[in-house]
């Protein structure tokens, strides 16, 4: 990574200009909705004509706003800059909303280039088990999964229900790919019957893959939802909390995360399965 201080020196004035003045931001965001006259800005933003005029002059000088007849428009250039601020804001909305989860959970299973885009989870839901419904997290997951048409999962954890689910998957037309650690492959294999095992390896709709390193995250992405599970900072998996989203951008983000692990995993066939079992 290049020198971050140098990078900061390059852009600090630009960044400051964009975010320092509440008035300028108000004007820019107001114009993001469409061109407006001074009068319209005055009426909708509760800003005096003198204030608008002074700030507008600066915005025009910086090529962020242009005057077209009697109205003001933001330039594409300004949209580009505002968009980077909105993007940052989305990430802070996410990190503030899920502060409790983030503060004592490990996100090292997510590569930096995807942590940068975690703002897409800003409107997701934290499904938590509660004393009156201790299986809420698990049941929500199973229910969502039952409606999925394609399922991609990465998991270092196991549950007896997953073996049943695994057996059911093979019988259906649902396209799926599971990336599991050696331990979970062993467990699944020893709890599934021989027919299921042979079926899983030869089935065209299901691809079973092996991730041989340590997995620090568990997640499932389907066509209709995404569910992320994290390890606590003490190293234990937190089965009582899942971050669940149905937002298309969150689903796309998790598919990118899945691709990341897919590249680092290998397909399970008869030969390496035998190796995994004796390891």
């Amino acid at each position: 990574m290049r020198n971050l201080f140098e990078l900061h020196d390059q852009i600090q004035d630009d960044l400051k200009f964009m975010v320092k003045s509440k008035i300028r931001l108000k004007i820019m965001f107001s114009l993001l909705e469409g061109p407006k006259s001074m009068k319209e800005i005055n009426e909708t933003q509760n800003l005096s004509f003198a204030t608008i005029s002074n700030n507008m002059k600066r915005l025009v000088e910086e090529n962020l706003v242009k005057k077209v007849e009697n109205t003001f428009e933001i330039t594409s250039f300004c949209k580009l800059k505002l968009d980077s601020i909105i993007d940052f804001q989305q990430s802070t909305t996410f990190s503030n909303r899920f502060e409790d989860l983030l503060l004592d959970h490990d996100i090292s299973g997510i590569p930096d280039f995807l942590i940068q885009d975690m703002g897409v989870f800003f409107d997701s839901e934290l499904v938590q088990s509660i004393p009156v419904d201790i299986y809420k997290t698990h049941n929500t997951f199973i229910n969502l999964l039952s409606e999925s048409k394609e399922i991609f999962g990465v998991s270092p954890i196991s549950h007896p229900d997953y073996t049943v689910l695994f057996q059911d998957l093979i019988k259906t037309d649902v396209k799926s790919c599971l990336i599991l650690t050696d331990d979970i492959i062993k467990r699944t294999v020893t709890t599934a019957d021989l027919k299921t095992l042979t079926g899983s390896i030869t089935n065209k709709n299901l691809e079973l893959r092996r991730y041989s390193a340590d997995l620090k995250i568990a997640f499932t992405v389907a066509d209709n939802f995404v569910s992320l599970g994290f390890f606590s900072d003490d190293g234990t998996y937190d089965q009582n909390r899942d971050l669940v989203s149905k937002n298309k951008d969150a689903i796309d983000w998790t598919k990118r995360l899945f691709d990341y692990y897919y590249q680092m995993s290998e397909k399970v066939g008869i030969t390496n399965l035998a190796k995994i079992l004796v390891s």
């Binding site: 390059q10 600090q12 580009l80 802070t92 940068q116």
Partner: protein
Amino acid sequence: MFIDNSHYLENQPEDIKFLAVSNVRTKILLSLYDGPKKLAYLRDKTGIASSTIIHGLGQLENKKWIVRRGDNSYITSKGKIILLNLIKIMQKLETIKKQQIFWKNHNLNGIPLKLQKNIHMLSESYLVEVKLDNLEEPFTKYLELLSNAKNICAVLPVCFSRHTDAIQRILVNGGFVKLILDKDILKQFIEQFNSSDVLKFVKVGSLEIWVVPDNLEVACVVSENFASLGLFFENGVYDTSCLLMGHNISALDWGNSLFQHYKNLGEKMDKTAIKQMESRIKI
């Protein structure tokens, strides 16, 4: 994705402002990118007095972006999201600043929001501009790269005969060409290209064409070693004086994503379309 701007009107971007107005807080946070740091390290690296750093650390701790254990300061998971997004916004603003001639005066409507958000992927790209002693420089340089390409994917909103010739050369040399065109450009392309050759290459599969319903507002060519981007002026005229050119993986990925975006919007010229095209050419 569409973001509800009213939400941001009500909520000023306080967190980015909190960083933008303080070099101390920003530099401390950036210093923690590659691991926990001691106070002495932060003081030496930033050149800021210890007391000022301690104050800044306290402010970052209040935000729960860092934790202090003993003399070491660690970034939290929450802080890591903020830090990586700070780096992203810095890279974006730097890209926009370095290439401001390009981004300032053009219509950007042809670039989907998702890719505008990833503009930092073009940070290593450079501008190829008209020189007074060689008005054709951008085009010549681009044609040179195009002629040397083995395979290309291209979104073409304009059609020049020398450009079509270069594409034809790639195909004759056994390369693969994937094109996104709008209806008007398709007609021009067929007129400029030897029409029977278009059919020949489409039939053997080395030339694939997708036609999009609306007029294209961006030009992009991606080969195995370059990605070029051309834009229109706000008045609707294509700018032949300036091109953005990149050679690194992230620029190529960005260009391929743009191609993919238009491919998803387009309709592939199948056998029926080719037959219709054949009859139109005969007429």
